[in-house]
């Protein structure tokens, strides 16, 4: 029983990790949004698996909420922007794809190094996966730095957010429901705001690439 719990959890975390790498790997924005949706599914699975293991119904409920928001609603919202965008590719990231994948590997190493203390403290099958959560945060950060498309930035931001949620699920015995609701609401609202902003920039100023936004500087 506990064996299959551990392997299921491992599998779900690996799904989240691989989709985070996929957002750096693929240049097509539509693929990045799809990867994000799968990432949401993986994250929801982590919550449900943990909830089932700990007999924590609230956590299972949180998993369902995550599924609805991060696997369905958010990708749908971003997908609408991509659908309007004709040249929906990350054509020229600051760092080319192979190099940024190597960068992601280095960041993962960094995450493992930085979280040794946390892993030692938690000392559970879930806790040993915490470095992946932090690595996903760093990869999201990295992809925001190297990617120039507005949509890529949103995807990076949400990757960071998923990484944090993963860390929270794995490291604690469940975040209070009110916090989880608040965070989810914030994320959803932020995505709505970003979506409106991007749509406005595209429609009225024909801005797709953030390099075009260079009006403000010192």
């Amino acid at each position: 029983m506990s064996f299959s719990y551990v392997s299921l959890l491992d599998l779900a975390v690996v799904v989240v990790m691989v989709t985070a790498a996929l957002t750096l790997w693929r240049q097509s924005l539509a693929a990045a949004v799809k990867a994000l949706a799968v990432q949401g599914v993986g994250l929801a699975a982590v919550a449900v698996i943990l909830g089932a293991h700990r007999h924590d119904l609230v956590l299972v409920g949180v998993g369902v909420l995550v599924l609805a928001i991060k696997a369905v609603a958010v990708p749908w919202l971003i997908g609408r922007v991509v659908a309007h965008d004709h040249a929906a590719r990350e054509a020229s990231p600051l760092i080319n794809v192979p190099a940024s994948l190597v960068g992601a590997g280095v960041l993962t190493l960094l995450a493992f190094a930085a979280t040794r203390g946390v892993v030692a403290l938690v000392a559970t099958p879930a806790g040993r996966l915490i470095p992946f959560g932090v690595a996903i945060v760093l990869i999201g950060f990295f992809s925001m730095v190297v990617r120039r498309r507005a949509v890529s930035q949103i995807v990076g931001l949400l990757t960071i957010d998923n990484g944090i949620a993963l860390t929270a699920f794995l490291g604690t015995s469940g975040v209070p429901l009110v916090v989880e609701l608040g965070v989810t609401l914030d994320v959803l609202l932020a995505v709505v705001v970003l979506q409106v902003l991007v749509a406005h920039l595209q429609r009225h100023f024909n801005v797709h690439d953030l390099d075009q936004l260079r009006d403000l500087h010192d």
Binding site: P176, L197, H200, L216
Partner: protein, 479 residues
């Protein structure tokens, strides 16, 4: 009382959003903020004798929260008055529709409510949720003028702040991880965390606090994630700039102070002090350097905000009761002075049509009231007596020396001197110089509240009344 102060702006916001636009909606905002200020004063009194709370203790006010509520109320009221004038002129020029005016009014109220929730929340994760909510709400306010520059600023603002604040959330969660595996019950309640802090795992708290400084520091405007600040402050409508610079930065700083208290209780002062010193000094350096090279007076004011936040950070690094009291006094003083200045700058832009320093001259002759307010406000900002910023800056510097950080206080003093020079040269160019048009009076609806605010600042600087007991109690909480 606690619930009322939160419900008042929320209710006003809902009404503004739903009711069809009329001028009364803007006035409703003023009334709501006046109510917030009164309630804040009442809560301040109550917090000195007891601990008012609501919703089973998940919301509550200690003196530190109460002081922040007062700042929110005071600056909010000034900004709401400025907001009436901003919307009038925008509608008159046809630069915004009545729908957008309603949205503006509603978002400002939501912004105020989110800040109030930040300072009232006892749970540090709820506090985080509220800080992130301020980001989401203010994005449209920053971009309210809908120019390309304004949208660029709001894009940078929400992206950079969301990333930064996400790091703070990671830090918060790591604190929770530490608490889940310490002694006692896992909790995100601030008081419980401070009590349990000595049992928390040091390595994890260290990582968490570094992330929190970086994260909330983004929102405070601390280097290295500060680049949104000058853009957002210069592109936002003047009342929004006043709110953001006057209170939002301090509210984020308040969140940092709360987390600092936990970290100090867990780790002792050394690590916390080093982290905050580095952050504060780098910010101060960046701000002063940029300040000296500005050609745009709104950006200049924005960098000045950064400089003050760096100073606050140094005060928090010192961490003695005197330092924290000075920090809190500085939060009040900076809030009032900076909001007066941003609102006045907004009026100048409105009058002269440019935010370039070179485009404005002879202000004292052409618009004596505006020019006078701007001059006095700048004097208050750079810390000339009798204004309270003089007392608080002196307090921070003295506390740094007393904490054995004399070299830091020397650096801070040097930075302050540079700022005086950097601000007075452009100010002289704007205020003096040839006047091209005949003198014009500013409306009383503008100059009277601003004058009152500057008067309060002077009063606070001379006798520290009526806030001295609240400030000392607040400093004791944050210790």
């Amino acid at each position: 009382m606690i619930l009322a102060i939160l419900a008042l702006p929320l209710l006003a916001g809902v009404i503004s959003a739903l009711a069809p636009w009329r001028r009364g909606v803007a006035l409703l905002g003023v009334a709501s903020l006046a109510g917030v200020l009164v309630l804040a004063a009442l809560i301040g009194r109550a917090s000195l004798v007891g601990a008012p709370s609501a919703l089973g203790g998940s919301l509550g006010a200690d003196p530190l929260s109460a002081l922040m509520l007062l700042v929110i109320g005071a600056v909010g009221l000034l900004a709401a008055l400025g907001g009436v004038r901003y919307l009038d002129s925008q509608l008159e020029r046809g630069a915004c529709t009545s729908r957008q005016a309603s949205l503006y009014a509603a978002l400002v109220q939501g912004f105020i409510a989110a800040m109030i929730l930040t300072v009232l929340a006892r749970n540090i994760a709820v506090m985080w949720v509220a800080v992130e909510a301020t980001t989401v709400v203010t994005t449209f306010l920053v971009g309210h003028r809908r120019t390309r520059g304004a949208l660029e600023a709001s894009w940078k603002y929400i992206i950079i702040c969301s990333v930064g604040i996400a790091l703070a959330f990671l830090g918060t969660m790591l604190l929770y991880v530490a608490a889940s595996h310490g002694h006692g019950t896992a909790s995100l309640d601030w008081a419980t965390l401070v009590r349990e802090a000595p049992h928390l795992n040091h390595a994890v708290v260290r990582l968490a606090f570094s992330l929190i400084v970086l994260g909330y520091g983004t929102k405070v405007g601390l280097a290295p994630l500060h680049s949104w600040l000058p853009d957002a402050h210069s592109q936002a409508p003047a009342p929004v700039s006043a709110l953001m610079s006057g209170v939002l930065l301090s509210v984020a700083f308040y969140a940092l102070l709360r987390c600092r208290a936990i970290a100090v209780a867990a780790l002792g002062t050394d690590f916390v002090r080093t982290t905050l010193l580095i952050s504060g000094l780098v910010t101060l350096g960046v701000a002063v350097t940029m300040l000296l090279h500005q050609s745009d007076y709104k950006r200049m004011l924005a960098y000045s905000s950064m400089e003050h936040m760096g100073l606050l950070c140094l005060g928090a690094a010192a961490g003695t009761p005197l330092a924290l009291a000075a920090v809190l006094l500085h939060v009040v003083g900076h809030g009032l002075a900076k909001s007066v200045l941003f609102l006045t700058a907004g009026e100048i832009v409105e009058a002269d049509g440019t935010s370039q320093i070179a485009g404005v001259s002879g202000l004292l002759v052409r618009r004596p009231a505006l020019g006078g307010l701007f001059a006095v406000g700048l004097a208050a900002l750079v810390g000339l007596p009798p204004f309270s910023l003089f007392a608080s800056e002196l307090g921070v510097v003295r506390a740094l020396s007393a904490a054995g950080l004399a070299w830091v206080s020397a650096l801070a003093l040097a930075a302050l001197a540079f700022v005086v020079v950097g601000l007075s040269a452009p100010a002289a160019r704007m205020l003096l110089g040839p006047a091209t048009t005949a003198p014009q009076r500013a409306p009383f609806s503008f100059s009277v509240p601003m004058g009152v605010a500057l008067g309060a600042l002077a009063l606070l600087g001379v006798v520290a009344w009526p806030l001295s007991s609240l400030i000392h109690a607040g400093a004791a909480v944050a210790l």
